[in-house]
């Protein structure tokens, strides 16, 4: 046995001695139990949270039942709590916001990755990130002062003329309303979509691009047929995060949607979302109203959770296979 083998062996013995083992075992156990404790604590907080909201809304569910989901009139003054208009406004404003934000966001992410020189890339990326740092109330103000006049005098009359006043561009061009809320939401969720999909695309191996070009693909074929599909799971994640934010956005929407809970007739309609209604009515709510608002909160939570679960499933399905 030569010198180096001997010293190796002795080192091994040292770390395997009963004392060292015991100490390491204890600290491991301590670590595991601390983590378990935190996990239990968080689960408890979450359960408590869900329980209290469901509990608070319980009278509304027993009293109104499915009307909370399907009733077409929301009129707390007369204790009429039909939640459908609020649900529709929430879902529609989010979907239309995605309709604007997804193509623009993906396009921006692609341009950032494949077109702009590095210096401009950094500048543009940090400007997009700045958008994310603006508080919602500022977006609301911007919507009120800048977008309302522009919508009512330019965009909406133009869309109305173009479509011949047909749905979904029917009705008076009021400025404020579902369409404006969607526009503001689109700008608000854009940074999320751009930042995440840009990172996902940047993380793709460079040789995917060259592999496709070497087969005779055009630049646009590379983007459409190779880059976007390869980044699909991450992009879906980005979109669902954006959707989650849009569904729950409160202040900015409240300021620009018109605050009128009625069944939406077109994109020009004024409306109210689940979140904006909870925020506006809570301060002066009667006990019956408080329970109904709790029910709206439950509906909103379920919607958001559903979007998340859906996105997770898609991400798992595509992600597991692309790893």
């Amino acid at each position: 046995m030569n010198q180096s083998t001997k010293s190796l062996l002795s080192r091994r013995n040292a770390s395997d001695s009963p004392r060292a083992k015991g100490a390491r075992g204890e600290s491991d156990r301590f670590y595991v139990w601390t983590l378990r404790g935190f996990a239990a604590l968080f689960s408890a907080i979450l359960l408590e949270f869900v329980y209290s909201i469901v509990h608070q809304s319980w009278p509304a569910w027993t009293h109104e039942g499915l009307t909370l989901l399907t009733g077409t009139t929301w009129n707390p003054a007369n204790s009429v709590y039909g939640g459908l208009p609020l649900i529709l406004d929430t879902v529609i404003s989010t979907l239309v916001a995605l309709l604007f934000a997804v193509p623009v966001g993906l396009g921006t992410a692609l341009v950032l990755n494949f077109v702009l020189p590095r210096r401009l890339q950094t500048i543009t990326a940090s400007m997009v990130e700045l958008l994310a740092a603006i508080p919602s109330v500022v977006y609301g103000l911007w919507g009120l002062y800048v977008l309302v006049p522009w919508m009512s005098t330019t965009i909406q009359p133009w869309l109305g003329r173009l479509s011949g006043g047909a749905w979904p561009f029917s009705g008076d061009p009021l400025g404020a309303g579902i369409m404006l809320a969607s526009t503001v939401l689109a700008v608000m969720i854009l940074p999320t979509i751009v930042a995440i999909s840009r990172d996902v695309i940047a993380a793709l191996p460079k040789d995917l691009n060259e592999g496709a070009l070497s087969l005779g693909a055009s630049r646009s074929q590379v983007l459409r047929k190779v880059i976007l599909p390869s980044a699909k799971s991450g992009i879906l994640g980005a979109i669902s995060l954006g959707a989650g934010r849009a569904l729950g956005e409160t202040v900015a929407v409240l300021m620009v949607i018109g605050g009128n809970a009625q069944m939406p007739r077109s994109l020009f309609s004024v409306g109210a979302t689940l979140a904006s209604t909870i925020a506006t009515e809570y301060t002066e709510a009667s006990p019956g109203n408080v329970a109904a608002l709790g029910a709206l909160a439950v509906i909103l939570m379920v919607l958001t959770a559903a979007v998340n679960a859906f996105a997770r499933r898609l991400v798992r399905r595509t992600g597991a296979l692309s790893s």
Binding site: G211, A212, L215, G216, A217, V226, L321, S322
Partner: protein, 276 residues
């Protein structure tokens, strides 16, 4: 050495004793990146249905030469390719060949297997045909089968064509990339150290494959592995970095000559493992 080669060509004679009717000709090819010369005055011929190997130490410009042949340097800002690169007598830069068409005539296999990870095996194989506008299912099926057979992959994947490419082993992925390139029916296949990320068994299968493919496609292979060059290639180009780190062609000859009777003392040193 380059001068005598050029002189021989100007005389209309056969270059050396081996290249008649070259498929690809490089004449005084220079490649530079933002003004820094990476490849200087490289001239050699590529014989049809033969395997031409580019050997030389790291940084001697082998990859750079390979990528100039399918115009991949077009993507790199500041990259400049000069000289004549003739495919069947037509200059691939100045001769008016559309880049996309050129790339389907000169395919490429990369150092690391790069199948499209989210596409199925089938979609990977036919991707080049789809890029080139072929939609008909029967044509695609036929091409996929024949390309996979050529790449010696058909037996192991024919029952799971819908599986993702990423479920294959590294060696299988590389053969899938070869199949994908072959499906487009290129005249030339460029291979940049195609086995450097593979285990010995996969490496051997790919080497066997290359020999089998010779009657279908002309291959140019970059390799760090002397034995590989000796085993598979017919002709060999040996490159070395000059003082200013630009890659230069030292010797171009049939592989047996390069390995057994090289003309340049630097080639002797290199093939005997004395540097690089």
């Amino acid at each position: 050495m380059n001068d005598s080669l050029d002189a021989a060509i100007q005389d209309g004679a056969v270059v050396g004793e081996f290249v008649t009717d070259p498929l690809l000709q490089l004449r005084k090819v220079n490649v530079s990146f933002s003004g820094r010369v990476a490849v200087r005055d490289v001239s050699f011929d590529v014989a049809p249905n033969k395997i031409t190997a580019l050997i030389g130490p790291s940084g001697s410009g082998k990859t750079t030469i390979l990528r100039s042949l399918n115009r991949l340097h077009d993507l790199t800002k500041g990259a400049k390719v000069e000289g004549d690169l003739l495919l069947g007598g037509v200059d691939i830069y100045k001769g008016g060949i559309a880049t996309m068409l050129l790339r389907s005539r000169i395919g490429m296999v990369f150092q690391r297997p790069n199948p499209f990870p989210t596409l199925s095996i089938y979609d990977n194989v036919v991707s080049g045909l789809r890029f080139n506008g072929i939609r008909k299912k029967s044509l695609l099926d036929e091409a996929a089968e024949s390309a996979l057979i050529s790449a010696a992959l058909w037996d192991s994947v024919s029952s799971r064509m819908k599986a993702h490419a990423s479920t294959l082993s590294g060696g299988e992925q590389q053969r899938l990339c070869i199949a994908r390139a072959l499906a487009v029916e290129p005249e030339i296949l460029l291979m940049d150290e195609p086995t450097s990320s593979l285990d010995p068994v996969s490496t051997q299968r790919i080497e066997e494959l290359m020999t089998e493919l010779k009657n279908r496609v002309t291959m140019i292979i970059v390799t760090h592995n002397m034995q590989q060059a000796a085993r598979v290639s017919d002709n060999c180009a040996f490159l070395l970095m000059a003082e200013d780190r630009a890659g230069e062609l030292i010797e171009f000859a049939p592989t047996s000559k390069i390995f057994h009777d090289p003309s340049d003392p630097r080639t002797v040193d290199y093939v005997n493992g004395r540097f690089g």
